[in-house]
Amino acid sequence: MNTEAAAREEFVIQRIRSGDRAAFEELVTMYRNRGLSIAYNLVGNLEDAKDALQDAFIKVYLYIEGFRGQSKFSTWFHRIVVNASLDFLRKKKRAVSVLTESLQDNIKEGDREISDNSLGPARIAGNQELNRRLEDAIAGLSLKQRICFVLKHQNGLGVREIAEILRCRRSTVKVHLFRAAENLRRKMNVYLKE
């Protein structure tokens, strides 16, 4: 970010502190694309990502006093987006588990059918299928591994910023990244062999 953009951002944040909603709309415009991208990579679809991002922006507006300029605004914002996305997933998981309890038997049956039909590299055609495999593999990672992997390899954030977002050491982020990559490689290698 150049100095002019940084000055503008600081000005906009000051205006939001005094309750200026037009300034808030400007901030939304500045940050909506990268916010949506992070939320999308964590929650997995556009509609849910949109809702999670709105939750995040509402928190930004309500708790802007909590931003003291100790970190970059983008880092503070990314942290709120990650939190909002995980909150969203948690709420959704609760709702889904209630919904699926009665359908449990049907779903189990369906699952078995799908995996029986699709296992084996010979049946996999094209990148789209590979992408879907990767989606499933990422979804199967532990929470910490998934967040680190998504932020680094899908959103292009650096290890340092991820450590700031998660409030942990850089070495911890690196361990999660290494384990995530190793797990994904193992899960995917059946499909990567040609």
């Binding site: 507006y61 967040i147 998660l166």
Partner: protein, 173 residues
């Protein structure tokens, strides 16, 4: 091979492009002679490039963002209890006019009364506090989950997030 076991940990940094020149050269030499590690490196590279491509989905158009902003404004109105509308030109002029000043005085008296009524109302609505407390507890729980600790050791004091929580509790008390 013992050497492969040692190298496995460095393979991630190698493929992610995060090794120094010296280590990079040493790893390249090993990959030239070890097909096992070479295969692993290739698999990692494919995983990374697949993951990176996924982010480059076409971003939504202006219509999407227009709707997004309208919804966001509506939700914010509900949260803050305020109506968002651009200030009309007439009111903007009035604000600076001489006639407007006594109105300001009345308005501040009215505001004081509203604040009093509102605080009394809040006092008799313990549910709101309970809900907000629950939210804070949930966020802290999330952090604990993330840090894999009871949350007290890794989060340093004076931390901005603690301050953020501070502010939430200040406004809810």
């Amino acid at each position: 091979m013992l050497r492969c076991l040692f190298i496995k940990r460095k393979l991630y940094d190698f493929v992610a492009g995060e090794l120094g020149l010296k280590e990079k050269a040493a790893l390249s030499r090993h990959l030239q002679v070890c097909s096992g590690c070479r295969r692993k490196a290739g698999e990692l590279k494919t995983v990374f490039s697949l993951a990176a491509k996924r982010e480059k989905l076409p971003l939504p158009d202006e219509a999407f963002w227009g709707k997004f902003q309208v919804e966001l404004n509506k939700r914010l109105d509900q949260e803050t209890g305020a109506e968002f509308a651009p200030e009309p030109e007439a009111r903007r002029q009035m604000r600076h006019s001489y006639l407007f000043r006594p109105v300001l005085a009345y308005a501040s008296v009215l505001l004081l009364m509203m604040v009093t009524v509102f605080s009394l109302y809040r006092y008799y609505q313990p549910k709101i506090h309970a809900y907000q407390d629950q939210q804070i507890v949930e966020e802290v729980l999330f952090l604990e989950e993330l840090n894999g600790t009871n949350g007290t050791t890794i989060l340093p004091l004076g931390d901005a997030y603690i301050q953020e929580i501070d502010i939430i509790s200040r406004y809810s008390s």
